[in-house]
Subunit: 656 residues, 2 copies
């Protein structure tokens, strides 16, 4: 192509995007990229001071003003600042991932407030790709094929002492010859960096013919007790390009972790549970591939977060001792392993990294959430709560962290609620009640006809019914009210939210007294957990400077209503921040940054775990919280005022 150009025209080829453009000789390289639609970061707008637009000149010549942003080593390797370079000859330019990363997108797509996101990490994924062009062997240079690859990794990329997966060796001879000695090597950081060690020893996990740096993907998964959520990450862009979700296939063996642990003790029970969640994961992976057209073979890393039981079940580790005192998990740090050895349908080279666990009921999902939300990085005293089937909570900051798990039950994920469903189109989320005739006003996700109630809807409904006096502080219906919406159903009293013809399911959608009871137990466990942790460090809930709410359903929660029913402490509303699925957030960020991967291990060691199940303070706090919003109205001053409650303390106590 370039040969036929007029004498003042120059051809520029951008890798790995594989984009060609033609510019005038002497053109600015950054501008050339912008004009060609090729993204190169340039925070300073092309003045040379930020150093974010570094590119590698693979072939050809540029004229460059060298600034102190380029190290001598970089300069020698052919790295240049695009904004400081003029095109002299035809060029082949490689844009490294740091210069392509759309950092802003990471947070934008998740709508996470920056004050609840980990900061200060470099984009340096554990998974890397390196393109090598090898000199073909001769009789004078007939070292082995593997030595030839390693020699170039050392020369081109200063990579030393690599470990090599045997599968790579196996395909090497044919692959190198078929690809004319041009190949892309995938490496993965699998081991913890030994203390004091300067360099890691990455593992060569794959080799592909030609230049495949443009196809550079990994997966992040949150394995919840109720739902499994996965994201396909494009590591060239530093963002999730697809998201998939499904119910955890283990639900048919039991809704909560206790039931599933019990099921494991049956013959083949563990195996069935493992296979069920693997099947779910495989289904989600299929969703992700279908959405994007990405080929499975280009996915080489899976980061998985989940609670301790979910991770042990996924890995086939019998969770029996998780529920027997003194509640010990099998391992805190899970060794990296080939994902397909578990039955996950990915290519042979893909490794699975499971987040470290802390204790029986405080798992990798919490570590992941804490890492993702950066609680461990800030001085600010935070309350972190992951509302899933279990309510896992952390109180702390960059100096210390205490954590605990409250057996919440799956009410927020649609479990244990008569018409409960996960947050999907048709789920009732908005709720209001006309105080005059007690008729409901409902809103559904997507505006479709209702088909059930999601977790945030449940809170809104309970708060609305409480404020309207349809239910009392004990959660029981006021059956004397003049409305047909309250009626005796098959499970006791219930309130009709939507009548059969207005629904997708062809029957009345109701909320029952049992549902509300379930919700009260759930919120009581969570609130009591928070109280117990804050008391343990001799502070109170009102001292919390930040409340970070994680959990798939969290994003749509109405804070005012959640405080009204006593789920969250009654503190200024602007201290609350939602981060959505924190476990998935952490899994994603760790996939982007080896720094954060190391942090995850550090956070796991930093946490002090409280076993609430045998804790007397917790039991007292729990019983006291079995009321809407609470038996101690002083704990909820603004709500007590709103509901017009007397200042009296209806404190019930139990003693051990």
């Amino acid at each position: 192509m370039t040969k036929d150009l007029p004498s003042k025209k120059r051809g520029v080829h951008f890798n790995p995007d594989n984009v060609d453009t033609v510019v005038e000789a002497g053109a600015n390289l950054l501008q050339a990229a912008i004009d060609a639609g090729v993204h190169i970061n340039a925070s300073c707008g092309g003045t040379g001071v930020c150093g974010t637009c570094k590119v590698l000149i693979e072939k050809g010549k540029v004229e460059t003003t060298r600034t102190e942003k380029l190290s001598e080593e970089e300069y020698e390797q052919g790295v240049r600042q695009a904004c400081q370079s003029r095109v002299i000859s035809d060029l082949t330019v490689y844009i490294p991932v740091e210069s392509r990363l759309e950092k802003a997108i990471i947070s934008r797509e998740e709508k996470v407030a920056p004050e609840a996101l980990a900061t200060g990490w470099r984009f340096n994924p554990p998974l890397s790709k390196f393109f090598v062009e090898l000199p073909p062997p001769t009789l004078e240079d007939n070292i082995s094929d593997l030595s030839r690859v390693l020699r170039n990794l050392k020369r081109q990329y200063h990579l030393n002492n690599m470990t090599v997966d045997f599968d790579v060796v196996k395909k090497l001879p044919q692959l190198l010859r078929d690809s004319h000695w041009k190949a892309t090597v995938t490496t993965l950081v699998t081991a913890v960096k030994p203390r004091g060690a300067e360099k890691r020893r990455p593992r060569v996990i794959n080799i592909e013919p030609g230049d495949t740096r443009g196809k550079y993907y990994s997966l992040a998964f949150d394995i919840g007790t109720t739902t499994v959520c996965g994201q396909l990450l494009d590591l060239n862009r530093g963002k999730a390009i697809a998201q998939g979700i499904d119910y955890n296939g283990q639900i048919k063996y039991g809704e909560d972790v206790i039931t599933r642990i019990a099921y494991c003790q049956k013959p083949d029970g563990l195996k069935k549970l493992q296979q069920a969640v693997i099947a779910t994961i495989n289904g989600v992976i299929n969703q992700l591939l279908a959405q994007t057209g990405v080929e499975l073979k280009y996915i080489a890393h899976i980061v998985v977060a989940g609670n301790t039981t979910m991770l042990q079940l996924l890995l086939g580790l019998n969770p029996k001792y998780l529920r027997l005192a003194p509640y010990t998990p099998a391992a805190n740090l899970i060794p990296p392993m080939k994902a397909n050895s578990l039955g996950i349908k990915v290519a042979e080279q893909a490794y699975l990294f499971a987040f470290p666990l802390i204790a029986s009921y405080v798992g990798g999902d919490i570590i992941s959430g804490i890492v993702g939300s950066g609680v461990y990085q800030r001085k600010k005293l935070a309350f972190f709560v992951d509302i899933g089937t279990n309510g896992e909570i952390v109180v702390g900051n960059s100096d210390w962290m205490v954590t605990a798990s409250c057996s919440a039950g799956p009410a927020f994920e649609g479990g244990g609620v008569k018409h409960g469903i996960i947050a999907t189109t048709g789920a009732i989320e908005e709720f209001d009640i006309n105080p005059s005739d007690l008729e409901p006003v409902i809103g559904t996700i997507g505006g479709e006809k209702p088909k059930g109630i999601c977790g945030s809807g449940l809170i809104n409904i309970a708060a609305g019914l409480l404020e309207a006096g349809v239910i009392g502080q004990n959660g029981k219906f006021n059956t004397n009210l003049p409305t047909k919406r309250i009626r005796q159903g098959s499970d006791g009293y219930e309130y009709v939210l939507a009548r059969a013809p207005e629904t997708q399911i062809g029957k009345d959608i109701v909320i029952t007294e049992a549902d509300i009871d379930n919700l009260i137990r759930t919120k009581a466990a969570m609130y009591a957990g928070c109280q117990t942790l804050t008391q343990s460090v001799e502070i109170s809930c009102s001292d919390l400077e930040q409340v970070i709410i994680a959990g798939a359903f969290g994003r749509h929660i109405n804070i005012e209503n959640a405080i009204t029913i006593g789920l969250f402490p009654d503190i200024p509303r602007d201290r609350f921040i939602f981060i959505g699925n924190g476990s998935l957030l952490g899994a994603r960020l760790v996939s982007f940054s080896t720094d954060l991967l190391d942090d995850a291990r550090r956070v796991a060691k930093m946490m002090t775990n409280f076993e609430l199940s045998e804790n007397v303070d917790f039991m007292n706090n729990y019983v006291a919280a079995l009321f809407l919003p609470h038996t101690n109205t002083n704990e909820f001053p603004s709500i007590s005022k709103k509901l017009g409650l007397p200042g009296s303390k209806l404190k019930r106590r139990i003693t051990a």
Copy 2:
């Protein structure tokens, strides 16, 4: 037991031998062990100066004179010199492997002269066993099961930063509880020690209930083109306790490596060859287990040496490019792998270490032989020759080494010889001929009726026939001689060694002109190889200070006869040393010493390989050697004299 002893009696329990004895209070601990039949090394005879009798006092009290042989760290850990210790209380004493090693046996059993054995290595097998007694978990100390094990490994044995195989994690929870928190951890050094690193990061590959330190085994294998030979090693005793051998099952697909490489290009060819050798290995393992009663589950390491093609076939690496110029192997350093992933029937935890390769035709068997024989450690200029199906040769010393492979063919292993068999009972090995009537005098291995001719027998027969004038220097029969032993057979002229009724096979055993021709080509390739290598470094064969002969059949070779036919250079006979199967020797020693394992990698890097197949000097040397002993009588002065040859040089040359 100990409670009922009279007040001056003390009970001593020796681990891992699990032997109890009773001694007087104040008795010398070394003497107590000797009396109880428990072996503890004591090179100095109990005077305290050698430090070889170190033991660990696990329970109880001794009174010790501390010498400088004990480091402060050892002393604090409870290590004492048995000879310097007096029994004070009842004791439990652990005898570490270094103090139990019967070093002398390593060489004695192999009948290898010490001047041709690697020296200066410590007994520190890559495979280690560590017994841990863990404090059971409590609510205050409920770290994960794995963390508990690693904590004790650190406290008891100063092991840090361990990598852990996932299979270990998997069985941990149940195993620890069933074994009452007493278990034995197996570790393996799999990675190359990074340059400058002080410590390695061993890998935890297994955990067993209770104290299994007494059951500590590995396997060493030599995979020859013709035969596969294995040894079961007792790492507690530092010796081979069983040896097994069988034909390589690949023989049915071709006798030499070239044929097998060609076979690999057929559909499923590689797979069939791999399965064939794996089946052979599995058979040999069964032999080893049957001989010793050792349980398979206690074998956790397999060290394999073999030529490049054999190793690539074993590992399933297509050897296609080994025989196409420029002759490159797939890899020099083979990553460690689980042995059962190849189909080798051993327990899940067992790893396979394959010796590093140098080039297409110079493989891990040579590295193994060089390491085992210590050629790389000495100043003495050595010629190392491994006589198998290929003749692989090395010339060098501790400063430099050159190596090459001569396509010898399988004549010495029974291949390509009409009645050739491997060295087994009934193989004709001794041969003499009555000069008056030309009748043979034969001797067989084991003294049984003959059933064939082994490699060493072939040499003796050819030398005898040459000296008696039955064959000429060109290897052709002198058909004018007055004996019926020389006759026309189905394959041309032949000499009858044994008549049918005297044999086990019921037919005449003969040596044919074709057999002798085969032998001449074999010995010519070997000798020309040696000449070419020595010429390349500008020395001659007579400068060699040591000739180390490796190869399964080598041990029984008659040096004088081998020189007579021109296989070995005509230098003083006392420079020749046999080491038997050098490849197996090296595999065994590496199993005993991580030092030697590192040396193997160093030796691989140190060797310079010569490709003889396209070397003009080699071709000239080869053609000149196609005569008995050689066309150049000056090369073989003593033989020329013995045979009464004229001094003339019958030198034939080809030019490129």
